[in-house]
């Protein structure tokens, strides 16, 4: 499969999601009466809003208008912020990217070495210790971990600010909260895929040729262990975005996650719709990148497809 085909497939997924968002919002009833209390708003005003946001005519007409608006870059109007939804969401995006990016980095910094060490000591004391801790790590809900950190570092020790954004100190606790829980899962994945790779016959045969353990590990174990790890990356990115909704609320972090909570509470459908589409776009892009990486990493897949 070539790049163009994959891109087309990604675009089709995006279109399907946009359509689903449209249907979901329509299925929950008249959005105008959901946003504005009909008892306190005049009929003329409601009609005006309907016209303004394209809620007139048949559902199909509305759908076409909605698609055409999206294609023209019009993502609706935020009732909450009183400006266009697109800018409301993009304003919050950098904060979340910073949070998720740093968390992902922490996840890998913990997960890869710890998972590898656990795998090499399979069944040993270190391995059991790591496995126990990873169970605790992902069994612990994010808000508990987050509140625990606040209690310790902000309330008791006064080392770190409990709330807000701006300095590196602000970043530490939210990143720890997401990073640790994701690292707990990632460590297990790293451990099991390295364990699988260690059992491969080609590893035994490399050892039989007298290749040093270090080189066996880097040139024979790791390349084979990477394949399953790459496959689960989109899953983890999705989990981190989901975690950010809770964690950003706990730490007052002004990102997309908190925006989801706010827009649901305020019934700001345009913003919610924008966020859903953006998360979908991020997931689709991640999948696309993973697909392409995979065929680079595993010559068997790229060749089978080239034929």
């Amino acid at each position: 499969m070539n790049f163009g085909f994959r891109l087309l497939r990604a675009l089709i997924s995006l279109w399907l999601i946009v359509t689903l968002v449209f249907l979901a919002l329509r299925a929950t009833g008249d959005p105008i009466t959901a946003i504005f209390d009909p008892d306190n708003t005049t009929q003329a005003a409601l009609d005006a809003y309907r016209r303004q946001w394209g809620y007139t005519g048949s559902v199909f007409d509305q759908y076409l208008a909605y698609l055409s608006n999206l294609l023209h870059g019009d993502f609706g109007f935020s009732s909450m912020a009183n400006r266009d939804a697109f800018s409301v969401v993009t304003d919050r995006l950098p904060a979340t990217l910073e949070l998720v990016g740093c968390s992902a980095l922490l996840m890998m910094l913990i997960g890869i070495p710890v998972g590898a060490i656990a795998a090499i000591n399979d069944g040993g004391r270190i391995d059991r210790f790591v496995m126990t801790f990873s169970t605790v790590g992902f069994a612990l809900p994010n808000f508990v971990l987050g509140l625990g950190l606040i209690l310790l570092f902000a309330v008791n020790l006064h080392w770190l600010p409990s709330n807000g954004i701006g300095t590196p100190e602000h970043l530490i606790m939210p990143v720890l909260t997401i990073g640790i829980s994701q690292a707990a899962i990632f460590t297990r994945f790293v451990r099991s895929s390295i364990l699988d790779a260690l059992k491969l016959q080609c590893v035994t045969s490399a050892r039989a040729r007298g290749i040093s353990e270090w080189n066996v590990f880097w040139f024979h174990v790791i390349p084979n262990a990477l394949l399953p790890l790459v496959t689960i990356t989109p899953l983890l990115v999705g989990a981190m975005v989901a975690a950010s909704a809770v964690v950003e609320s706990v730490f007052g972090w002004p990102g997309i996650g908190r925006l989801i909570v706010e827009s649901v509470a305020q019934r700001d459908l345009a913003v919610l719709q924008m966020i859903v589409m953006m998360i979908a776009a991020v997931m689709i892009t991640t999948n696309l990148i993973v697909d392409l990486t995979y065929s680079r990493l595993d010559p068997r897949t790229s060749l089978a497809r080239a034929h």
Binding site: C202, H220, N224, L303
Partner: protein, 557 residues
């Protein structure tokens, strides 16, 4: 140093157990010696501990072992070497070749990368060009055609035979004194098997190697080894010079093993086919597989059947033989209507027992365990087959099942077990029984023997033969093993790249093969090998192995 007297490899009272609270013994009391120039064969069935023994000689066990006794190779006490000495020992003293070359080579790195990595160890000061030349030279040594262009390819782009050659080249890069070959041909096609074994012979003579061959295939051993040791359940039951062990085995177990593996060249009276009613007719059947739509449009495909014609008659065992990729399995699938032919006719004739009924065909698959549900008791799986086909009365079903289980030579107590608790042979007979429940007119058996040990093979062959004789069932037997063919087949159909190159009664099969490929198959039968050449008394030795370039051409663009 008493180089002339000291054996190259000496294993004394070796015992290996899996270390734990209660050590689980795997092998015990194993002693043998390999001298310079010996071709030592370690034989036994699966689970006999032969692989564990040879892996322990390089300290490559997949678990933490508890070792008793002593292994000394090339002056090293293997299990007391420290880390760096162990590396040096693995680099210089012993080379190892594994069962499945595709698995033993790293799938995500090129052949060249893996060779250069090993060469760099042996020639740390050599520059890139020098290393490359050495790699090409090593591939040339093992008769890989166009060695220069192979460095950039990945293992999956080469055929099994070529990969095993690469493995051998890799194992010999450090000029080891001992080559351990762990079932080196089990994963390969029969005619390629012979080529790989010839190559090992050639390398042994050229490089003054000793060889330790681990195998379950006694045919190979009889032909080539100088010494044989037989393992059973982790203990050595017999060892000695090859000729005496193979021709006059002493231990009861080795007797049984060698008898089960002997080749009975066909010697039958009837050279004419029976006039029994036809069961299955293939008439000018064509089928081509395409890897992609583009290939289909360009007409570049892999032919699985080209004007394929043959017939199977009632009470007849027709062997369909050929290498992997020759279209055997596709033919079976088309006969079962699991795959549609592109053109031509596949006729399932009316049942010979009652011409109003359609022919009842059942299939037996290669891996018995994979074709049984691991969670269901055998009994329930057999009942299920019958109840799907409308047998309502449980009592009648039970009666029929008991009768069928007896037909395949099993006792009723297997019924209560789950497949995990069946041996390989029992599982395969349960699968056959399951196919027989519906009283078929014809059985299609796709490599029914390749997953079971040689002694069990004998039992299953007898079972099939009995069914044919008693119930008059026609059997289409797909196999790559000529030994099986000689044992029970009536008619032999040889396939090559989807073409029928031979279709003769088995008694005529060996006299003057009409087809070059058939001759190659016959030559590849273990026992058909000129041993004088192997002993080095003749200087020319076996001819340089022909590379299976046809296979390569299919894979390489």
């Amino acid at each position: 140093m008493h180089a002339a007297e000291d054996p190259l490899c000496k294993v004394e009272d070796l015992g290996i157990a899996i270390n734990g609270d209660v050590p689980v013994p795997i092998v015990d009391d194993i002693s043998f010696e390999i001298r310079k120039g010996d071709y030592f064969a370690l034989v036994g069935e699966s689970g006999s501990g032969k692989s564990i023994t040879c892996h322990s000689m390089m300290r490559l066990l997949p678990f933490k072992p508890k070792i008793k006794g002593r292994i000394a190779i090339d002056g090293h006490d293997v299990w007391s070497l420290n880390r760096s000495k162990l590396l040096a020992f693995r680099r210089k003293s012993v080379g190892m070749v594994f069962q499945d070359p595709l698995a033993a080579l790293n799938p995500v790195r090129t052949i060249g990368a893996q060779m250069l990595e090993t060469l760099r160890i042996h020639f740390p000061t050599a520059d890139a060009d020098d290393l490359r030349n050495r790699a090409v030279q090593a591939l040339r040594e093992v008769h890989i055609p166009e060695p220069g262009s192979r460095l950039g390819v990945y293992p999956h782009q080469l055929s099994g035979g070529l990969n095993q050659r690469v493995m051998i080249a890799l194992a010999l890069l450090g000029n080891p004194k001992l080559l351990i070959a762990d079932e080196p041909t089990t994963a390969l096609d029969m005619s390629v098997q012979a080529e790989v074994l010839d190559l090992i012979d050639e390398m042994r003579r050229k490089n003054d190697l000793s060889v330790l061959l681990v195998t379950h295939d006694l045919g190979i051993v009889r032909d080539r080894a100088t010494h044989i040791a037989v393992l059973q359940n982790g203990r050595m039951v017999e060892q000695g010079p090859a000729a005496s062990v193979a021709d006059a085995p002493q231990a009861a177990y080795s007797k049984e093993l060698f008898e089960a593996s002997s080749v009975d060249w066909p010697d039958r009276d009837q050279t004419r086919r029976s006039r029994e009613p036809l069961c299955l007719t293939f008439n000018m059947v064509n089928k081509t597989f395409f890897a992609s739509k583009k290939d289909r449009a360009n007409g570049v495909g892999i032919p699985a059947a080209k004007n394929m014609s043959f017939t199977v008659r009632r009470g007849e065992i027709v062997a369909l033989i050929g290498e992997s990729g020759s279209g055997k399995t596709t033919a079976a699938k088309m006969a079962m209507d699991l795959e549609k032919p592109d053109s031509g006719d596949i006729i399932l004739h009316p049942s010979p027992r009652n011409f109003k009924d359609p022919l009842n065909v059942q299939m037996v698959f290669q891996h018995p365990r994979d074709s049984l549900d691991p969670l269901m008791r055998v009994e329930d799986q057999l009942h299920e087959v019958l109840s799907v086909h409308g047998w309502k009365d449980r009592g009648k079903r039970q009666e029929h099942i008991l009768k069928t289980i007896e037909d395949v030579g099993l006792s009723a107590e297997v019924l209560a077990r789950r497949p995990t608790y069946l041996s390989g042979g029992e599982a395969q007979r349960v699968v056959i029984a399951r196919a027989l429940l519906l009283e078929p007119d014809m059985l299609i058996a796709d490599e029914p023997l390749s997953a079971v040990d040689v002694r069990i093979q004998k039992h299953i062959l007898e079972c099939l033969q009995r069914l044919r004789d008693r119930l008059g069932i026609a059997i289409l037997l797909i196999t790559h093993d000529l030994r099986v063919v000689f044992e029970i087949a009536d008619q032999v159909v040889v396939l090559r790249y989807g073409r029928v190159v031979e279709d003769v009664p088995v008694s005529m099969f060996t006299d003057g093969a009409r087809d070059e490929y058939t001759q190659k198959l016959i030559d590849a039968v273990p026992g058909n090998y000129d041993k004088d050449g192997a002993d080095g008394e003749k200087n020319d030795g076996p001819p340089p192995a022909k590379a299976d370039d046809t296979v390569m051409m299919r894979v390489l663009p």
